[in-house]
Symmetry: C2
DNA sequence: ACTGATAACTGGTCTGACCAAGGGAGGGCA
DNA sequence: TGCCCTCCCTTGGTCAGACCAGTTATCAGT
């Protein structure tokens, strides 16, 4: 008798598609980043390219990846269609900045949590390098460069979370609200002339927690960090 | 410059998929009925079987067709998942019978309309043959046989409509409510000993209108026919 | 440093073959 | 006669290798 529901004898293409879906969901392939070519995937899974093509077609119809003749196939950002918020983010709108930072608090906290849980050793190492680089850069470079270093640090944490939704959302978030977020940093720097003590310490705490794989600590550290930033903005607003 | 929206240079697989979709939507392939094999489709469209397979896969993921290893691929009934109504249709439930006939009035009317508009010449000829056969059978066969002949006549009209939704719905409708519908016929026959005058005339009118390709007339004739049947049921109910 | 040709990719399609599973026609059995 | 079983053909699933058509990175020449 056949068992349609839990059919163990799944076809090759379904197996490949499931693996690929899993890899994407696990953040092994980052949205916007190219996935291996069909030929490589075929070799990797020991199936023919025809089978890989059918699997890739399935994922494409599901909206997980997109292909381009001649170009490489890449994984799409799942949040793209759902994040069409107005982006008048010259950095001047305080209310929006505050809201963005509130949303970011949750996002960063979860990203840090999962990064501490699931980051690969290579990612931890890369994060460590980037952290060191950020500290160097902190002494004597332009505000923009510091902002970008800060962004890179947080983005790497998001990617290390291996969580497709977090990665997708983070990408869009940082792309669209770069000004809103780093307008805070800019104003802070203008006011204090340097990073406030807290930020460097918080970055250190986040970094340490992730490196030591302490998810709860990392989540709390990230959340505290963002809310601290938010507080800075409020202070600037109320005490010009 | 590329035009993503109205890209004229669509790929082969997309063209084949579109054609196949069109053929199914046009009722060329009836739900439940097998579509040509991939090899035949490949020959038909002058493309490779790999391309056909990708097109078929697309339609399968869209839920339009289903494939079975070794078996033939067949077009699915779109309404199946949406028609899980209770089917206690022993033919005794008067209220349900009335409701069914009301729904059928609209369904048959539209089917007749589109049949008169889009039936192929072959289908008109087949319908004519079936109509003649139904008349012969009307003189001296079992009630069940008459009911089945009646059903066949209406089903052929539905198929000639070349309207996927009408065909899908008709299939399920007649399968599930056969008893509810032909309980009416059975009771009518028991009461009058033969078909009421009206029914034969109405069948003739529907048939004639479709043959002469008069959509409006066909629609009206079909609607009148079903509502007449409904009226019969009410009369039986109120005057036992 | 910039530009333009070029070579090395990529995805899209084709061919022909084999395997495995369903389905129908026929023969054997009761 | 009627049922069941087997065999064979067709079907979908997979494979290998090839070619075409776009993209992209490289590198020589300006």
């Amino acid at each position: 008798m056949k068992n349609k529901v839990s059919d163990n004898a799944e076809s090759s293409v379904e197996r490949v598609a499931a693996d690929l879906r899993g890899a994407i969901a696990a953040g092994i392939y980052i949205p916007g980043q190219a996935i291996p070519s069909q030929r490589k995937l075929a070799g990797q899974w020991q199936v023919s390219r025809a089978t890989v093509r059918e699997a890739v077609l399935m994922l494409e119809l599901e909206g997980l990846i997109e292909t381009q003749h001649g170009g490489r196939s890449r994984c799409v950002n799942l949040m793209e269609p759902y994040l069409n918020l107005p982006l008048e983010t010259s950095g001047g709108n305080r209310e929006l900045q505050l809201q963005v930072l509130e949303a970011r608090a949750t996002l960063e906290a979860e990203a840090a949590f999962y990064a501490a849980t699931r980051a690969t050793d290579e990612q931890l190492q890369a994060l460590s390098s980037e952290y060191a680089r950020m500290q160097e850069r902190n002494a004597g470079e332009s505000t923009l460069a510091k902002a970008k270093a800060d962004l890179m640090f947080h983005m790497m944490i998001a990617e290390a979370s291996h969580h497709l939704l977090i990665i997708s959302f983070s990408q869009l978030f940082y792309n669209r609200y770069f000004n809103a977020i780093y307008g805070v940093l800019s104003q802070t720097l203008r006011r204090y002339g340097r990073y406030p003590e807290g930020i460097a310490q918080q970055h250190a705490r986040i970094h340490k927690a992730i490196q030591q794989r302490q998810p709860e600590v990392a989540r709390d550290a990230a959340r505290t960090h963002i809310l601290y930033t938010r507080q800075l903005l409020e202070r600037i607003e109320t005490c010009p």
